[in-house]
């Protein structure tokens, strides 16, 4: 739980204003640990602040917590195939939210199925990326955010 800071010195909320205005905050969602580490590394190479979530529910909980503090991420990057709520369902939830809908969402998948790609783009995904991610994909991601 995150408290919005009043006078308590025990619990400090980390406001983005304290950091460089250049630092972008990305939420990366993937149920695979190795893939989470990989996307985290790529984002850190491009000087992003990274938060990872292992499933869509945790991702939404985190986004809600940020929302309660008037905070947002600059980008959500999510795997398509996840148990429980899929990345596609997460995309739709984000786009349905009046507060979150302008946050760009990128979908990653190991399978480059045209119907899948089109479905995601049609539902508002900024981009569809093929796994495994490579160093050259970093540039594409930064272009999405900027």
């Amino acid at each position: 739980m995150i408290n919005s800071g009043s006078c308590s010195s025990l619990m400090e909320v980390d406001y983005d204003d304290d950091h460089s205005h250049e630092e972008l905050h990305v939420l990366a969602v993937d149920d695979n640990l190795i893939d989470r580490k990989l996307v985290e590394k790529l984002l850190k190479i491009s000087s992003c602040k990274v938060t990872t979530a292992e499933n869509a529910i945790r991702a939404l909980e985190y986004l809600d917590a940020l929302t309660n503090n008037d905070l947002k991420v600059n980008l959500i990057i999510t795997d398509y195939c996840m148990p429980g709520m899929t990345g596609f369902e997460l995309l739709k939830k984000v786009k349905e939210s009046s507060y979150l809908k302008e946050v760009p969402v990128v979908i990653m998948s190991s399978e480059n199925i045209p119907t899948r790609v089109n479905k995601c783009l049609a539902s508002g995904a900024q981009m569809f990326m093929q796994k495994p991610l490579k160093l050259s994909d970093v540039e594409k991601l930064i272009n999405v955010i900027s």
């Binding site: 190795i34 190479i45 796994k131 495994p132």
Partner: protein, 155 residues
């Protein structure tokens, strides 16, 4: 006369090339190396360590599922194979990934003998790769300890 460093570097180069040529690694492993720098010199080693731990866990899950004679949950096995296929692809473990493709087909067609065979092969293959990468990392360490630089190998 070749110095110790030069000899070690040559060994490293040759060994690396052989791992690619024999199909143990593919260019995703090269990509991982590109992401490594002086601030994260152990990135590749750490990631592959996680990968091998993941292999062990998933293989154990699959073995357990396949052990339920007469009541095998092929969907469960299939989802573990899917995970393994993803991780192996992300680290460049080419042979493991290739086996996962076949393994997935066996799961989808509920081919019990095929699954058992694939499981055995995957187990052998990941352990083999683990040993080879350990040798590779040992060579790197020897080079560094001898005061040399780890050469960049162009495949």
């Amino acid at each position: 006369m070749d110095t110790l460093i030069a000899q070690l570097q040559k060994q490293f180069r040759d060994y690396t090339i052989s791992l690619y040529h024999q199909g143990f690694l593919d260019d995703q492993f090269t990509e991982l190396k590109k992401m490594q720098d002086e601030f994260s010199p152990d990135f590749v080693a750490e990631l592959v360590t996680l990968f091998f731990e993941d292999c062990e866990k998933l293989i154990s899950n699959m073995a357990r599922a396949l052990d339920q004679t007469g009541n095998v949950d092929f969907k469960l096995v299939g989802s573990s194979v899917h995970q393994l296929k993803g991780s192996s692809s992300s680290v460049g473990a080419k042979r493991v990934k290739g086996l996962c493709v076949v393994f997935k087909e066996c799961c989808d067609s509920q081919n019990y003998e095929g699954c058992v065979r694939c499981l055995q092969q995957v187990d052998v293959e990941y352990k083999s790769l683990k040993a080879k990468l350990q040798d590779l990392f040992n060579l790197e360490q020897q080079i560094v300890q001898a005061g040399g630089r780890i050469p960049q190998v162009d495949i």
